[in-house]
Structures are given as structure tokens and as C-alpha cells.
Symmetry: C2
């Protein structure tokens, strides 16, 4: 088996750290009982391992290709996507009224992780479709919902996000695509969009493009951008497919990784105009897009965790099989390299990063559920703030770490890791996009600094740190051993992060460039400290279970050991980050541009 | 121009940090005057930029290919290699008596850096040839020297190192290739060697394979390995090429990067036996191979620096050209992204790592020259110890950092970085081999821990740290500003490194696995602290020049700013490393193998 879902760890996190039993009490989440959730995840794991994972290497070797405007996906993708839709996996988190399963984000999140572990390229199509569903659900007209939602949720049609243009990447103020009202409620859309994931393919009957464009009288900048839905095939009143719309794929990109996922250049309106309808109100496109983007950003964070888990499993397998050199403690002959301390260190680092990011993201998903379903508005608010603070951290940190984890995976394989047939290199190539799309790490960090930290004077961040402190207090019950060591590093890390939050919130006005010089470091440090916090919580739960003689002893011991490793090897980086952010801001901008 | 050699920085390091004027006084190094060296480097830079660098992308797009036992290299490689040989570049550091230029390693080192910046795949052929020259020079018979050296040094023939076999990678004890004496002074060699760089190609008339194999009565393990020279074409008494030898390339690998460099599977002796001659004495093969390997490892370190420099230059260019988003300090429209703090931070990190590794490696090269040429045996000895301590650090750290630098280079390009046509991704793929071949980072770290630290009880390491302390004392003259900040971080870093050296030297017997659990971290930390030391020395020189009103003000200011950045952003990681190594060793081996 090329991928085995880490169900035991997932269920531990869902139940013990993210509090499924509490989520289950929320109005609308009554179906998500621990038993149901376990059954759903088992079924999803089976589908991902058996149907989707085996296509991963083929997708890399025989990528999607373009011919005369049509994109043919890798053999097997079409059938797998059909099965995916029919099994209801596109609809896990979407409303029952439109054919979804209506399960909480806490349940959808591990499903998304598994799909991405199985096949990053394949998983992108549902990921983007989720974004389109989210946007239409929030801002679409009843008519749009009626036409599109059911078909998207069933996997019959798929969705895309059309933001980027050649001159407008991170900076959407530069979007130039035009939308001219036709007087009949429709608009004619024209322009070029690039980097459109699954912008054209053969896996579904129709493709629903959500497109940012400007109406003729729109103001300049981001306040003049509207959102339109532009289907590949127009839809007749009876729901059947009508004429081919004027949106055409003129090429796809030749990429470093995720090669099975077609990255399209789309030309709108070259032959008379592509017909689209407005989503929500004019000039509020960016706002709606942000809804999609927050969901998509979180999901890209899950991609990081997914590829990290897959790279880890592959490295473990190789380390068990490859025999080389004697054991340092003495052995009669060469041993499997998993016995060598540096191989073990790399595996532990891969494992610790992945488990910590998983815990942080599932806890974030649970906060999303509480933010949407809790009866108490004050509880909703605090959970929404927590969720919003975490989204850039989950996206940025999980993806940044995934590149290093995939790189360690190559290293564990030695020379074989550099040979493409081995497969370790694919993860290293695939992972490299994750810190770039749906907003680079710097864009996530801008969000973390600006909207999520400075805007409320660091209050949300401090609130999270207060929660960390409570975990430290609980750890204080253990005065020696692993939990005491974890507490030491967590305390040092959280104090350092608090200093950084004060620095960020306090220096924005006086030294904006200095603050942003450390923005990505702040994001990574938040990932390290808050990931370490979740591992510390996990260790506490595990220790209490052990103390109570309750459950899987080996699993709990391993969890504590992994948390200890995280504390000593990863949390310990916090002090260096603090220096770089607080003392190091001056050096970043010190050299004149022409001196580079 | 796709690559411009950083001659100003190279000459600064050579003259001000590595002490060319002192090297120039060594017996045998009298020709290496500062003027001559500058002229040599300028000429080499021209050759690398104009002839070799333009072939880099072509080599990636149209790699070497295998057909019926023959390997055809990328179009243009053959002609460029001919020009390389004819211009004398293969011979820079080799003896005049065999046609070389007889220049110090301190001069050859920047030449090797430039060639690797220009084209990592191309540079591998001379790199391996240097190794073969080195081995034959040290251990070859007069006959072997006569037959091979001149042709290798002129670039007419090339050399290879044949160590790895399918079951014997990092562990050479497992080598199985056989060498049976024929009674006429020759041996018949048989076996399979894999991962042989430039093991077959069309760039030279003959290929001189240096091969590890066992004679029939050899003891088991590494003490039973002998070194043989096995040419592709046998050489007649008059020096002309004779019969084709029985060594054949049965395939080449499909790799993640350095695609133009053919990585061969060589089959020796399948058709009657490959004829070889013994190098040096039987069963001392590993010892000779280590001579080659030390030189080759140092050179692979230079590959890391070379690719980091190239990736940096590419990222700077893109950051200057790409216009996106307004300046944080306010601007009328979008600006080049080099003005954005996080882009600047990435460029500074790339630059600081590259400059520090360059300084450390050139200083190491100068120690090699003193170790070989100084009239005083005591001075030779201390320089040899310094050199040997530094080789694993230069190899390991320069290559590890180069992967991160190349990854940052992709990130600076945003979405374009993921598109292969842009070229940034090639560096990310190419760099990934550098921490693996010529000994993985773990193998370098074993060397650093075992032979270079524990064997002398940490004395050499402490000697280096004493030198760092002298730099700290010199920095103490500056009580505020950048130099004072640099001193703070250098002092903290060197104290942390000293603790780690004590831990490594002191715990080897009691806890060998614990020590080796931190071996790679110790290596990286040594790179960080000693790289930071060299940057601190550079800042001192620059400040004194500024104080004296002497020379290039902007260059010296930039050097100080880069050193300051290194101190705050990179040296500051030392404390985290110390925790991971000293406190974190327990966690590495804590989980049972079956729990992974």
C-alpha cells in the first residue's frame, strides 16, 4: 500500500485535542457522533488509499496535456473523480439541502488531508470546487445556487478561481479583466487569466469559473473588483447544458510539480464575449473572494500536512528496508538504516512537524465549527477570531514545513532519493508550490500581521497565548521527565512569542518596514510555538491516559516522545526567531537596491 | 548575462580574510601574486560566464542520453569542455611538471565556485577529474603518472570515482567488486558500479576510472579494499589509445536535477574482464580514496556555494524587474518587489548565507595551502588540522544551505518560480543532490564528530573557537552599532558551540547514539557559528577601511549590513541548536522502530 491513512493519530486529535464531542453538541452537528465520524474517516481512508493514491505516480509521469484547447488528464483521473463524486466525498462539509453530507469542518478536514496525501494533483480539483461552492453559498443569488450548487456538490461539475493575471499576482489591485453589463442581467467578460488550476479538463461535464473583473465604471484598485460566475457551458433554464461559452484554454504550464493538475491560461471573450452573471453586489468581489480564499488557504495548509505525511510514510518504509552499516551500539552485520541516529532524527523531525501541524489545523477546524454553529454569540465571536488568526498560520507554516519534510524525505533515501523512479523526489517537487499559491507565505504573513494582530492591538494573539499559559500550568504538575522538559521549552517559546506580538503590535506605526521585515518569521514562529502547544496538550492527554492505565500504551508513549522531540528540536528555535524579528529588522532593509 | 562572477567579493575574501599575501610567500606559491590572481580570476570569470553558463538551461532541457552503451552529452558541452581544457582551467591547482598551472588551492577554489555557478552539471566532469588526478599524484606509480596525469590535466581525458555498488552506498565495507591478479602486473576487474558521475560520455578521448575492488585474499570490510585504475581504452606503450577495455555503461539514471551530467551504471568485466592496474598498495584503497574524497568533498561544498550564488543572482534580477503592490512607505503605484521587506529579507538571507560560506571555504583553502607549503612543520600541522576540521563543515553546511537558498530563490519568483521555463526551479532541483553525493551530510557529520572532534578530545575545535574569541575581542573595540550587535550574537554562538563540543567530546563513550543523534545538527551549527565568525571578520575589515577612508564605501557598508543580518538572523539560531543537541538527544531514539 503506497499510503495508509494515519487514522489512529487523526482520531486522537479529533477526539482529544479538537473536542469532537463538544462539536457534536452544536446545533447542526448532531450527526457527527464519534462513531459516525470514525466510520466516515475509515471509508474515506479506504477510498483515498485504494482509488486515488495509486494514481499519484502516473500523474507525475504522464501529466495532463493540452491539445487544441482541450486538456486530457492522466489516465484514470476521470474515473476516480467520478467515483469520488458518486461516493459523496465532494459534499462532506456542504449542506444537506444541496446534496451534501452536512458534516462539520472538523470532519471534512481529515478527509481533505487524506485526499491530499493520496494525490496532491487530484485533490486540487475538489479543493477549488469547494471554494466555488463556498462563494456561491455566501453571495450567490437563489438562481445561481439552484443552477450550480447541486451539480458542484455531486461532483458532476467542478469549480475554479480566476484571480491572477500576468500583471496581477499577489496584487489584485492590478486586475484588468472587464465585465460589461448587457442589460439582460448578464455581463460580457473579457481578459486573460493565468495559473488557473483545473481551468480546463475532461473530468466533468461543466466547469464553473468564478472570475474577478471590473465593470466599466468601477473605481480603481481593489475596491473596483466584482465577482462573476462564468460557466464553460451555458446552462439552459431546464438545467441542461447549452452553448459553449467564450472561455478558452490557450495553454497549460510546464511545472516543477503537481504535474497532473492542469494549470491553465484562460482567454475570456476573444470570440464575442464570455457570458457571466454577477455574484453578490458589484465592487464587492474581493470580499467574496476572501471567503473562498480563507477556506482555500486552510485547505492548502492541509495539502502541506498531506504531502508531509506521505513523504514521511515513504521515508519510514525505505529506512526499514534499506540495510547499510552496522549499528553504532554494535551489530554482527549491517542493519536497516532506521537504526542509525541521524536517519531516526530526520524521521522524528518529519513526524513531529506533521503531527503538530495536524493538531493545530484540526483544532482550528473545530473553532470554525463553533464559530458557525454555537448558540452563544460571544462564543461564536471568540472562535471566529481564533479561526481567523490561525488560517494564515495553518496555511503558511504547514506548507513551509512540508517543503522541509519532503526534502528530508529525499535525504533519508540517499542517492536513491535523487532518482525520479524512487518517487521521493516527486513530493519535494510537488510541495514546492504550496507556499506560493493561494497567497505566498509573505501574503499570509501580511494577513497575520495586519488584519489578525495589529488591527486588534494583539488582543487575539494574547488570548491564544493565555490558552498556552494554561497548558503550561497543567504541565507544571509534572516536575521531571518529558513533560517537564516540554514545559520548559513551551514556556520559553510562548514568552518569546509574546515579546514578538508586542513588537509587531507596537511598532507598526513607527517602523512599518521593520515589522514586515519579520512578518514571515513571525508566522513561522507562531507555527512553531502553537504547534508545540498542541503537542504539549497531546502529551498531557497521553500521560493522563498512561497514568490511568487507559488505552494504547505504545501509542501514548510515542506521542509523548514525539512531543518531547518537538519541544527540544523545534520549539527551541523560538529564541532565534525572536532575535531575528526584534533585533534583526534593521538589517533587512539596510542595503541599497543597487548593491544587490 | 545569466551569470556575473562576484569578483569583488571573491577578491575581498581572498585578500582580506584568507590572506593571499601570506599564501603568496609560501614556497611554491610565489607566482600567486595578488595581481596575477586577479587576472586569473577575471579570465576564468569570462570563460565561465560566456562559454559555460549559457549551456546550463540547455543541459536541463536536453539532458545527456544513453543509446546502445554510448552517452551523448548536451549539445555544446563537448566543445565547451575542449575549450576548458585548452585554456588550462583543468590544471589550475595541478603541478607545472604535468602541464598544470601550479597555483594554490586558494586560487583554484574561486575558479571552481565560478564553474559551478555557471553550470553545476558541466562542472562535475572537471571535479571528478581533479579527484582522479589527486589520487594518482598521491599513490600512483611513476608509470601511471606518466600515462595519465598529463592527459587528465590537459582535459584530453577525464576521470571518475567508482565507489558505490547497489548494496554499498554510504557503507563501503559492503563493496563486492573483484580484482584478480593476472601475474603480469595487471588485474582483471569485475562487478557493477552505480551512480558513476560522467562514467560514460563523449567529451573526451578516454575515461580513467578509479575503482574500488577486492583482491581474492583480501580481508572482509573496509580493510580489504584496493584501488585500481581502469581506463575505458587501454593505453599503448607509446601513449596512444589501444583496445576498448571491458567496462560498459549499461544505463544512465533519470534524475531530479543535474540532468546534463550522466550518472552511469558501469558493468566491469562482463566480457572477459576489465584490465586494471593497482594504485599504491593492496588493501589501502580506502585510504587513497579518502584523499580524493577530501578534495572532492571540499569541491562539492563549492558546488553548494556556486549554485547558491547563481540562484541569488537570478532572484535579485527578478525582484528588480517584477512590479507588484505599492511600497509600504507609500508610493504612487506598484513598485519593483525588491522594495518589499519580505522579498528583501529572502534576498539578504540568500546573500548572507552565500557570502559566509564563501568566506569559510576560501579561508579553509588557504589553510590547505599553508598545510602543504609552509616551511615550519608546526604551522603545517595546525593548518592541516584546521583544514581537516573544516572539510565536513564546508561540504555539509554549504550544501545544506544551498538547498534552502535555491528554495528561497523559487519563492522570490512567486508563481513564476514553479514554472520550469523561468529557470529558478532548476537550481532547486540541481542543489538537492549536493547533500547526498560524496557522502551525505550524516556521513560528513560522522567525520566531524568521530575523526575531527572526539579523536583529539575536541582540541582542534577548541583551537578554532579560540580564534573566534580573538575576533570577539577585536569587535569589543566597537561598543555600539552593527559591530557591537554582531559581537553579541557571535559571543552567544561561540559559547553555545563550545558547550556542544564539550558535550560531543565528553559523551561519546557513555552515549554514542545520543551524540550521533545530534551530529548533523552539530555540523550545521558549526557552519552557522564559523560562517558568522568569518562574516564578523569581514565586518571588522570593512569597518576599519571605512574608518580609514579607504576604498569602496558602498561595498564595505553592504558587507557590514550583510554581516549584521547574518548575526541577527542566522547566528541567532545557535541557541536552538544547542538545546536540540544537548537536551534533545534523548528524544531521537525514544520511539521503537515498529511505532514509526
Amino acid at each position: 500500500m503506497s499510503y495508509v491513512a494515519p487514522l489512529k493519530d487523526m482520531l486522537f486529535v479529533i477526539n482529544e485535542l479538537a473536542g469532537l464531542s463538544e462539536v457534536n453538541t452544536l446545533p447542526g452537528c448532531e450527526d457527527a457522533s464519534p462513531e459516525t465520524v470514525e466510520a466516515v474517516l475509515e471509508e474515506n481512508a479506504k477510498f483515498c488509499s485504494e482509488v486515488v493514491a495509486p494514481l499519484n505516480v502516473a500523474g507525475d509521469k504522464e501529466p495532463s496535456f493540452w491539445q487544441e484547447g482541450k486538456v486530457t488528464t492522466t489516465k484514470g483521473f476521470k474515473e476516480a473523480f467520478k467515483a469520488f463524486g458518486e461516493a459523496g466525498w465532494q459534499g462532506v462539509q456542504h449542506p444537506v439541502e444541496f446534496g451534501g453530507q452536512g458534516l462539520p469542518k472538523l470532519v471534512a478536514t481529515p478527509c481533505i488531508e487524506m485526499l491530499n496525501s493520496a494525490n496532491l494533483s487530484f485533490a486540487l480539483c475538489p479543493l477549488l470546487t469547494d471554494g466555488a461552492i463556498e462563494a456561491l453559498m455566501t453571495a450567490g443569488t437563489d438562481e445561481q445556487k439552484k443552477i450550480y450548487l447541486e451539480n458542484l456538490i455531486s461532483g458532476k461539475w467542478t469549480g475554479t478561481m480566476n484571480l491572477t493575471e500576468p500583471q496581477a499576482g499577489s496584487d489584485l489591485a492590478l486586475v484588468r479583466s472587464r465585465a460589461v453589463p448587457q442589460g439582460d442581467g448578464t455581463y460580457k467578460i473579457s481578459g486573460t487569466k493565468i495559473f488557473i488550476t483545473y481551468g480546463e479538463h475532461d473530468m466533468a461535464e461543466n466547469i464553473v469559473h468564478l472570475v474577478l473583473a471590473r465593470t466599466p465604471d468601477a473605481p480603481e484598485g481593489v475596491k473596483g473588483i466584482s465577482l462573476f460566475v462564468v460557466p464553460k457551458f451555458l446552462v439552459n433554464a431546464d438545467g441542461s447544458l447549452g452553448e459553449r461559452n467564450d472561455v478558452h484554454c490557450v495553454s497549460i504550464e510546464h511545472k516543477l510539480g503537481i504535474k497532473a493538475s492542469p494549470t491553465a491560461v484562460l482567454q475570456f471573450g476573444d470570440h464575442g464575449g464570455a457570458i457571466g452573471t454577477l455574484v453578490g453586489e458589484e465592487n464587492r468581489g474581493l470580499e467574496y473572494m476572501f471567503i473562498m480564499m480563507n477556506a482555500a488557504r486552510f485547505a492548502v495548509g492541509m495539502q502541506g500536512i498531506g504531502v508531509a505525511e506521505r513523504a514521511y510514510q515513504k521515508a519510514v518504509q525505505y529506512a526499514r528496508d534499506r540495510v547499510q552499516s552496522r549499528d553504532l551500539a554494535g551489530s554482527s552485520g549491517p542493519v536497516a538504516i532506521i537504526h542509525h541516529p541521524d536517519v531516526r532524527r530526520m524521521l522524528m523531525s518529519m513526524r513531529a512537524h506533521t503531527e503538530a501541524a495536524r493538531a493545530l489545523s484540526y483544532v482550528t477546524a473545530a473553532a470554525h465549527d463553533a464559530a458557525h454553529h454555537h448558540p452563544d454569540a460571544a462564543v461564536r465571536k471568540i472562535n471566529q477570531e481564533f479561526y481567523e488568526y490561525m488560517v494564515p498560520v495553518v496555511k503558511g507554516w504547514s506548507t513551509e514545513m512540508s517543503i522541509n519534510v519532503a526534502s528530508d524525505g529525499v535525504q533519508v533515501h540517499g542517492g536513491m532519493g535523487f532518482i525520479e523512479e524512487t518517487g521521493a523526489a516527486q513530493h519535494y517537487r510537488d510541495a514546492r508550490i504550496l507556499t506560493i499559491y493561494e497567497g505566498t507565505t509573505a501574503i499570509q504573513a501580511n494577513d497575520l500581521v495586519g488584519r489578525k494582530t495589529v488591527r486588534d492591538g494583539g488582543a487575539t494573539a494574547k488570548g491564544v497565548l493565555a490558552q498556552v499559559r494554561r497548558t503550561e500550568e497543567e504541565l507544571a504538575a509534572y516536575t521531571s521527565g518529558d513533560l517537564a522538559a516540554i514545559r520548559n521549552q513551551l514556556a520559553a517559546g510562548s514568552r518569546a512569542l509574546e515579546e514578538v506580538v508586542d513588537y509587531v503590535a507596537g511598532n507598526m506605526k513607527a517602523d512599518i518596514k521593520g515589522v514586515f521585515a519579520g512578518s514571515v518569521l513571525y508566522l513561522k514562529m507562531a507555527g512553531v510555538v502553537l504547534g508545540g502547544w498542541q503537542m504539549a496538550r497531546a502529551a498531557l492527554v497521553a500521560q493522563r491516559k498512561l497514568d490511568a492505565g487507559d488505552g494504547d500504551v505504545k501509542f501514548f508513549q510515542a506521542k509523548i516522545a514525539t512531543a518531547r522531540f518537538f519541544a527540544d528540536h523545534i520549539l527551541s528555535q523560538a529564541s532565534g526567531y525572536r532575535v531575528a524579528i526584534v533585533d534583526g529588522s534593521a538589517g533587512v532593509m539596510a542595503i541599497a537596491e543597487e548593491q544587490f
